[in-house]
Subunit: 446 residues, 2 copies
């Protein structure tokens, strides 16, 4: 069995825990996260209702309040024990499920107002940088694909969603009889980790009676550091907020933390009440039954691992961990900046707002005089494949303004400066091979 794991399974595994993994966004594992998973697997309870394991529900509420406070979320997002509201946190499997459940809550809230036959008129707004999970949530929830507005962004705002574009789109849709109901802003987009202007977007949503969801799946973690908290400014205008502890917060996959201000909206969309699940505590409305906050019925004891991460590492260590990755990304960025064959971040020579967190976007420039986009894109695609084929590191890509762009996301727990240096060396060497311009002894291209 162990032989088969080693000979048949591991060779086909993509090593997300490798210090040389820079693709997508990280998927952190840690001793604390692993211990939490082990304990959860040993208990192996199914905590759909409070009664089916009270500790699971109670711990989840406590830990989500802790993390919410660390992120300085507004009081209304915390459990009512902490304020007079109807808010609370819940662990979802993924950010896709988080955006789906709040979209469904918003959909049904709106349809209760305007009548359920109006589903075909409902409109969702995000940007072309919003995660594809929004589009998928629309598909699932029956929002017509042509009513899913992924508004165009460009380098002039560093790919953030301009509020005035949103306002215009909403006004136009209202004027033709459509019903705007949901707006998604992002803190740390998937392509380039940009940050949408939450405050302005939130105000627009509020004035149009829309649900405003903030997806901080990746960058939310960094916002436990005071110097990065500014990127959450405006979250007080949001109806829901999501951060993936399983990305860059040392908590094993899956642990996507979602907070809402109005738990009843979720519950009205997602609750069922079959006889076989009835019990005194639930019937008396004394407890939280998380089955009504999520898509599945069954759920694992996922708060254990987040609890262990927070308890075993503590805030200062976690802040240090995040800052270290950001420093390493900055180091990589400096390396790229010193090699004139590459350009940074956005595919123009005017870098408007470079790296905010631990993701560096960059491109290999085509030979001087060749401005043909297709060839330039192909060049970067070939470089990506060449680099990944070495097996020495793994990076991924995106497109920004139609330009094939390389992504280098620092965030694996074991990554150190020497790994970044080695990765950059591989990138330089492969670029040299491609361009036919070997590096000189001083490390600059000849």
């Amino acid at each position: 069995m162990i032989v088969d794991v080693q000979s048949k399974i591991l060779p086909g595994v993509t090593h997300w825990q490798s210090p040389n993994f820079y693709a997508y966004y990280p998927s952190n594992s840690s001793v604390a996260g692993f211990l939490g998973e082990m304990l959860s697997a040993a208990i192996n309870m199914v905590g759909f209702s409070w009664i089916t394991s009270p500790a699971a529900t109670e711990l989840e509420m406590i830990v989500l309040d802790w993390l919410g406070k660390l992120l300085k979320l507004p009081q209304e997002f915390l459990s009512p024990g902490n304020c007079s509201g109807h808010g609370g946190g819940v662990i979802q499997g993924t950010a896709s499920e988080a955006v789906l459940v709040v979209l469904l809550a918003a959909r049904d809230k709106t349809l209760r107002r305007v009548g359920k036959s109006a589903l075909g008129k409902l409109v969702v707004y995000g940007s072309d940088q919003t995660h594809s999970a929004l589009q998928k949530a629309c598909q699932i929830g029956g929002v017509h694909p042509e009513n899913c507005r992924l508004l165009k962004t460009d380098s002039s705002t560093n790919y953030a969603l301009p509020p005035e574009i949103v306002s215009e789109a909403i006004s136009h849709d209202i004027s033709i009889g459509l019903i705007p109901f949901f707006l998604c802003g992002t803190v740390g987009t998937t392509s380039s980790a940009t940050v949408d202007p939450l405050y302005s977007l939130g105000k627009i949503a509020k004035s149009n009676d829309m649900w405003f969801h903030v997806d901080a799946a990746y960058a939310g973690s960094a916002c436990i550091c005071p110097e990065y908290r500014k990127y959450l400014d405006g979250v007080e205008e949001a109806d829901s907020f999501n951060m993936n502890a399983h990305k860059w917060f040392l908590t094993n996959f899956d642990c996507s933390t979602l907070w809402v201000k109005d738990r009843n909206a979720l519950i009205q969309s997602l609750s069922t009440n079959p006889e076989f699940l009835k019990n005194k505590a639930s019937q008396a409305n004394l407890v939280v039954d998380y089955k009504d906050w999520q898509i599945p019925l069954g759920r694992r004891f996922r708060s254990l691992k987040l609890w262990m991460v927070l308890r075993l590492y503590g805030v200062e260590n976690l802040q240090h961990y995040l800052r270290n990755h950001i420093e390493l990304a900055k180091y990589f960025e400096e390396c790229v900046g010193q090699d004139s064959r590459f350009e940074l971040c956005v595919p123009t020579l005017q870098v408007v707002a470079p790296r905010l967190f631990a993701l560096v976007c960059f491109r290999l420039l085509p030979p001087v005089g060749d401005n043909e986009v297709c060839r330039s894109n192909k060049l970067n695609q070939v470089l990506l494949e060449a680099v990944n084929s070495t097996g020495k590191l793994f990076i991924s890509h995106t497109a920004l303004s139609g330009m094939y762009t390389l992504r280098f996301a620092v965030g694996a727990p074991l990554t150190e400066r020497r790994h970044i240096a080695a990765a950059w060396k591989v990138l330089q060497d492969e670029a040299s091979t491609l361009l036919g311009t070997p590096l000189q002894d001083n490390g600059n291209p000849s």
Copy 2:
């Protein structure tokens, strides 16, 4: 930390692994399942696309084919490598997600035919014994609640769905301009583990161009035993089939195995194709990207635990494991049958089709002469609470024909005959206290 786990967490845990847990349906853990979870947590990869960890996708396909063959599913449900079809298996988190994804596939397939504005006309069929997950899937997918037909069953069919009732409902709905599109049959209902007549239901679905889903979440496991395979007869008429390996198959939660005959229907509903996930293997359509078969994007390496269970225990041990629980349930049933204060299975004295698997439904009879349903229901509710309050065992309940019915589901890995005997003793003692009829020395009520 360990002190806190012991003093603060464990006292609030409902012990699903206890040999004295008989509530709901079981949630099996095992050494193999636990090892699989550990290995998965150590690798901690996120296998949304084939490229993000080829072994995860490949192993899932292999293991689902193995299990599909064990269940003697029709060839069309297996991966195309095994036949010329478009089928395949996939691990979902829960049966709720399984029925949701196939309902969405069926919804969109139908809407492509009749136009998407017809969503309000789509009708779903199941019985009042179908798991509430069907109703939740309708809520999520935008099927109007009044178009979710949960057809009434009764003791005359042992709570199975009579095909003629389905036919009538479909004909009536068509006659008033509605569009039947989805039928759910169950093998092992949640309330009483009954089995719907799959073959007849499948034929009805087929002749009306509807999707037929079979939910064997609980009882599917038993069908790896030749003597129980008959309960799957007719599955060849189904479009999709679901069994929860995490219930009664020694595989840690979550591992809900779903097979479909037409993977393209799933993919058309659930796929997205953002630039940042594009890769050569996917673009060339050479591989399976399971992200397009499920609600979330990210996914854990769940096939490992099922692989370990199948490899470490093997078919014969698994069959023995299942048969042993069924024998234990039979023993409990005999105990109940020997105590005239109780009645078995269905709340009439004519037991039509008693226990099929390892779930025993039973009731404490009210004192002779008292036929008032409310008091009789209250009596059983009080008994349940009294029994559970002892802390010596945990059972749950359901309602059958409006009668509060106790459920005793054998299936925890550690349960032995002595646990059943002890549980029955507690039930008898609490009944005696309630009825004021202490047991005589010979174990019979006085």
